[in-house]
Symmetry: C2
Subunit: 599 residues, 2 copies
C-alpha cells in the first residue's frame, strides 16, 4: 500500500509514529508561516501541518516542501509523509481531532481541476451537475454513507437468509418477453435473427421452477427491469430481495419475513421493532383509504353515513350532498380547532386541486368552550352534529374540544383516496410522520383480480401466479371481483416495501387463471407452457415475497428519494447523463442484429 494508515485511523496513542497517508486535499489554510492541510479519504479527515518556525524531527521543513504544499488545490491527490504529533487545539468534531501530522514530505500523486461544486455535505451543485459529475458527488460524506448503508443492508439480509437455510441462486437476465405486467426491455438476438430476449421484471417464474426443483428455500438480491415512463423516483433498473419457500402456508411467510425486517432494524439501525401488526386490505381501505397506510399516526377514517338513520332531524333539513353520496367519511385533525377560516379555506383548495380532485371539504370545529361550529350549520343543528361526535367516539377516534373534523363525501373509491391524501398532509403538518420513527404493517387478503375498464377484462392484482383463498375459489365463476388472494404486502411508514403471495401450484387452476385473464389456451401455452408443464411433474405448495431493495434502503436512510441510494442512477428520461447513455450505435451493430431503427 502507498499508505501506512488511513485518514480516519490515527489517535493520541500514535504520537511520534512515522506515517504515510494518502488522500484528497479537502482544505488548505496558510497563516503566518504555518500551513494546515485537511487530508480526506473514505475513512475520515486528518490534519497535516507545516510550520516554518518549528524544528521538524530532522530539520526545518525545506523551502521545496513549502512550495509543493502551497501549489496544492482542492481535491489534489497526495501522499503525505510525516510524524504524528499531539494537536494544540483539539477538534472534537472529527475522530482524528487529537492529533495532526508534522510533514516531512509531500508528493502530488495527481493534481485536480477545481470541481464544479464543493465536495461538502451541503453541496452547491444542482441535481443536473451532481448527476453529470456523479463520481464527484459520490465523494460527499452523505452520499457515500448511503451506499455504505446499502452494503450493510445487503450483508445483513444475506446473514439472515443464510441463517434460515435459504440458498442464493442466480437466475438469468436474458429471458423471454411476456405480455402480462409492465413493459419489457428487450434485447435483439444476433444468433437468432428476428428474435429477442427480455430483461426480467422479476425472476418470478424461475423462482417457482426452483421450488419445483426442490430447492425449498431460495433468495436472491437481484437486478430487475421495467420499461415504464419514469415518474419521480422510479428507475428503469432496480434491485429486489427476491424470496421463495416450499411446503409453507401464508403464516410461515409472514413470520419469516417479519423476522428479516426486524433483523435489519436491529442490526443496521439498532432498533428493536415491535411485532408487525396485520390488517386486511378491506380494513386498510376503510380506515385509511389506502392499501399502504402510514401507521406512524392514527387519525383513522370514521364513516358517517347512516348516522342520522335513527335520528329525527330536528332541523328538518337534509344536506343533499351527503344524502346522495355513496360515502361520507371524516378524520379528526387533533388540536386543530384553532385553524383560522383562511387556513380551512386553504385546506379546501388543497383537496380541490386536480391531483386530489375533491369537490369540497366539510369541517366541524369543536371549540374549547364545548360548542360545535361547522360549515354545514345550516343543515345540521349542534345537537345533530353531536351524533357525529358520538360516531367518532364509538370508532375509537375521540373528537374533543380543540379538535377539527374534516369530512369528504362522494363515490367510495374516490372519497377514500382523497381523504387519504388529506390525512397524510395533516399528518405531515402536525409533525406526526417522523423520519426516525418506523412503523411496519402487514396488509393481507388483497383482491385476486381487478377490472380493467378500458380493456374490458380482469387483471391480476398481484400477478397471474397468485393463488385465490381456498374458501373463495367457488366465487371465481360467479363473482371474480370478490375473490380474495393469498397475497400480502409489507408497508413501512406508508410505503410498500415488499409484497408477495402463495402461488398456484396446480396446472388446472393455473390454466383457469390464464383463461380468466383473457389468454387463449394457445397463448397461455406459448408464454407459460414450461411453468404449467412443470406443475405436472410434482410441484410442491409454495409462496414467496419480494422486497424493493432501493426503497428499503432509502427508508432506513430516512430519505424520500431512492436515487441517492443507487451509485449511478438514471434521470427521468432514463438517461445516464454522466456516460451519456443511451446512445446511437454503429450501423455494423444494427446490421449484425438484423434490425433497423425507424425514427
Amino acid at each position: 500500500m502507498l499508505r501506512t494508515h488511513t485518514c480516519g485511523e490515527l489517535r493520541l496513542e500514535h504520537v511520534n509514529t512515522d506515517v504515510i497517508l494518502t488522500g484528497w486535499v479537502q482544505t488548505i489554510r496558510d497563516k503566518g508561516g504555518v500551513l494546515w492541510i485537511d487530508l480526506r479519504d473514505r475513512y475520515g479527515i486528518t490534519q497535516l501541518i507545516l510550520d516554518e518556525g518549528v524544528a521538524n524531527t530532522t530539520a526545518i521543513p525545506s523551502a521545496d516542501l513549502f512550495s509543493v504544499a502551497r501549489s496544492l488545490g482542492r481535491e489534489y491527490v497526495v501522499k503525505a509523509t510525516g510524524t504524528v504529533i499531539e494537536r494544540k487545539s483539539k477538534n472534537p468534531n472529527i475522530q482524528t481531532g487529537d492529533i495532526e501530522i508534522r510533514l516531512s514530505n509531500l508528493e502530488i500523486l495527481n493534481p485536480a481541476k477545481l470541481p464544479p461544486f464543493l465536495i461538502e455535505d451541503e453541496t452547491d451543485g444542482g441535481d443536473d451537475l451532481r448527476m453529470k459529475y456523479r463520481y464527484l458527488d459520490l465523494r460527499r460524506n452523505s452520499v457515500r454513507k448511503n451506499l455504505e448503508l446499502r452494503h450493510k443492508m445487503a450483508q445483513q439480509t444475506r446473514t439472515y437468509m443464510d441463517g434460515q437455510g435459504f440458498i442464493e441462486v442466480e437466475t438469468p437476465v436474458l429471458i423471454k418477453s411476456t405480455p402480462e405486467g409492465a413493459r419489457d426491455f428487450v434485447v435483439p438476438s444476433r444468433m437468432n435473427p428476428g428474435e429477442f430476449y427480455a430483461l426480467p421484471q422479476s425472476p418470478q417464474t424461475f423462482k417457482q421452477l426452483l421450488m419445483v426443483s426442490g430447492f425449498d428455500r431460495y433468495y436472491q438480491i437481484v437486478k430487475c427491469f421495467r420499461d415504464e415512463d419514469l415518474r419521480a423516483d422510479r428507475q428503469p433498473e432496480f434491485t429486489q430481495i427476491d424470496c421463495e419457500m416450499s411446503f409453507i402456508e401464508q403464516e410461515d411467510i409472514l413470520n419469516m419475513f417479519e423476522g428479516l425486517v426486524r433483523h435489519l432494524f436491529k442490526t443496521v439501525k439498532g432498533i428493536d421493532m415491535a411485532e408487525v401488526p396485520r390488517m386486511t386490505y378491506a380494513d386498510a381501505m376503510r380506515f385509511y383509504g389506502s392499501d399502504k397506510p402510514d401507521t406512524r399516526f392514527g387519525m383513522r377514517f370514521v364513516e358517517l353515513k347512516g348516522t342520522f338513520d335513527t335520528v329525527d332531524l330536528t332541523s328538518g333539513k337534509n344536506f343533499a350532498v351527503f344524502d346522495s353520496a355513496e360515502l361520507v367519511v371524516g378524520i379528526n385533525a387533533k388540536g386543530c380547532a384553532g385553524y383560522t377560516r383562511k387556513q380551512v379555506d386553504e385546506l379546501t383548495e388543497w383537496v380541490k386541486r386536480p391531483q386530489i380532485g375533491a369537490k369540497g371539504l366539510i369541517y366541524v370545529r369543536y371549540n374549547e368552550d364545548g360548542s360545535l361550529k361547522s360549515s354545514v350549520d345550516k343543515f345540521y343543528s349542534e345537537e345533530e352534529l353531536k351524533h357525529w361526535v358520538a360516531r367518532f367516539k364509538s370508532e375509537g377516534e375521540n373528537f374533543e374540544p380543540g379538535d377539527l373534523m374534516l369530512i369528504i363525501s362522494g363515490e367510495t373509491g374516490k372519497a377514500r383516496k382523497q381523504l387519504n391524501e388529506l390525512r397524510l398532509e395533516m399528518g405531515s403538518r402536525l409533525g406526526l410522520r417522523k423520519a426516525d420513527e418506523f412503523k411496519a404493517l402487514w396488509v393481507l387478503d388483497f383482491p385476486l383480480l381487478e377490472w380493467g375498464e378500458e380493456e374490458g377484462r380482469w387483471f391480476a392484482m398481484h400477478h397471474p401466479f397468485t393463488s385465490p383463498k381456498p374458501e373463495d375459489i367457488a366465487l371465481i365463476d360467479t363473482d371474480p371481483g370478490q375473490v380474495r388472494a393469498n397475497a400480502y404486502d409489507m408497508v413501512i411508514n406508508g410505503t410498500e416495501v415488499g409484497g408477495g403471495s402463495i402461488r398456484i401450484f396446480q396446472r388446472d387452476l393455473q390454466a383457469r387463471m390464464f383463461d380468466l385473464l383473457g389468454f387463449s389456451p394457445e397463448e397461455a401455452k406459448a408464454q407459460f407452457g414450461f411453468l404449467m408443464d412443470a406443475f405436472e411433474f410434482g410441484a410442491p405448495p409454495h409462496g414467496g415475497i419480494a422486497f424493493g431493495f432501493d426503497r428499503l434502503c432509502s427508508i432506513f436512510g430516512g430519505a424520500d428519494s431512492i436515487r441517492d441510494f443507487i451509485a449511478f442512477p438514471k434521470n427521468n428520461s432514463g438517461r445516464d447523463v454522466m456516460i451519456d447513455s443511451p446512445s446511437t450505435i454503429a450501423d455494423k451493430q444494427l446490421d449484425e442484429l438484423k434490425i433497423k431503427t425507424v425514427v
Copy 2:
C-alpha cells in the same frame, strides 16, 4: 410449515416422535404386505413404511392408507404423517438410515407425471432433455450440490472481501455501447428512440469511477454479458467477482487476491493451499508455451536450438528441418520409452491434426539399456543426441533411461502452441492432471499490446485502461510491442480464473493509449470522455482484478463444464430451450421501440 422435520433430519434420538414430512417420492417397494417409500427433499431421504402385519401406534393401517400409498408414482409430492421407529436393517449410506417412519396418514399434495428421465445421480436423459426439463435436472443430487457449492463460494467471497474492508457497490446494467472489446448486447430505448443501451461486458469504467470517488476498496459479484459466438462452455451471460483498490501497487493486489483464493480453498474445500508461485508471461511461454500453464505437473519445455553450435557434428550431416526452424523445443515424457512404434505414430498423427497443426513430431527414446534411439538417427549420432540429453539436464528436466523425448520445431509461436497441446495431452495420459489436486499460479508482466494483423493496428492485450510498466513507458513510441503491462492473471490447473491490472490514472497517458489503439481524439472523447474527465478531478492510483465466478466454481467442483454450476444455462445457440427464449415479440413492442427486424 406443512412439515415438522425435513427428510434429512431424523435420527435414532427421534424414535417415538410423531412427525410430518413432505417431499417427493423417490422409490416405492411393495412386498409381502409391506410397503416402503423413499421420500426425498433437498435435505435427504427418509424411508416410510406401511406394514399390514404390524400394529400401528393407534391401529392397523387402514385399507384407505394402503390404497393411497399404492396409488403413488415416482415424483409425487406427498405429506406423510407418522412415528419415527428404529429400522431393523440399517442403511449406512444415508444419514437417516437408522430410522424409518411408520405411517399413520399420507396425503398427496400434487401428483406427478412420469418424468422424462430418472431423477438419480446417473441420469438417463441426454443433454437436450436435461436442458428442456432443467427443473427436473435440478432435482438431481449432483446438480443441486453444484449450486450449493456456488452459494458457499459466493458467501465465502463476501466474508473475505467484507473482512478486508471492501464495499459491495451495484453498478448499472443498462450502460453504453463501446467499440473496444467483444460484441455488446444492446437494448433499444423507447424513451430515446433510435438510441440503445448496452449490457456491460464488465463494470470496468464504473469501478474506476468509484476509485475516483474515493471508495478505495470496491467489489461486486456481478452478471456480465458478451454477444460472442458460443464455443462449448461459454455463456452469453456470466458472473464475475469484480474488484478494485486504490493507493496500491501490483504487489498489494497479488497479496490481497491470493488471500481470497486461499480463503476459498480453506473454507470451501478444507485445503491449505501453498503460497501462489509467480511466473512472468515470458517464462510461461518459454517453459509451457502457454500463458496459463497447468502446473500440477512439470514436463517443462527445453529449447534445443544451438545445442550443436560448439559441437563438431561427427556425422557430418545436418537436419535441415531443425536448422531452418526458428524454434526446436522438446519435453520429457517421463517413463514413456516403452511406447511402441504404433503409439508414437499415433501421437504424431495427433499433433498433425488440423486443430494442432504440427508438421511432425521427432522423438528420442532413452532405452533402459542406456542406448538412445531417435527418429532422426540418420542425421544425428547417438553421441550427438547426448548433447540434447545434457541440455535437458541443465534445464532441470532430467532425461533418463526409460524416458521419451518429444520434439517439435517451427515458427516460435506455433511450435510453442503445438507443444503446449502435446504436453497437456501427455499429462492427461500419464494421469498427472488430477481433479482433486489444485495448483495456482500468478502470471505477470503481460505485453501491453498485441498487433492485429488483419486490422493493421495495435490492440490492448488486457484492455485500454491497463497501465504500462513505468520503466517501459519510453518504449511506447519506439517499440510498442515490447512494452510490458502491469497486468496479471491467476491460473489454476491450467485455467485462467482471474485477471487484472494496475490502471492508468492520468489523463494524458490514457489519451496516448487511445491514440495508440487507433481512436481519433473525437472518438476517444465520445466514448470515454467521462473517464478522462474524471481523471482530471483527482484520480488516485488504482488497480483491480476480476475472477470468472462460473469457472471458479466449476474448478472447485472438479468439473470441466461451467453449465452445471449455472441454474438455468443457455445452449450453444444462446437459447434457453426450457422457456424457449429468445422469441419473436409483438409488433406493438417493435413499434413502441421504433425498430424493425430485417430478417
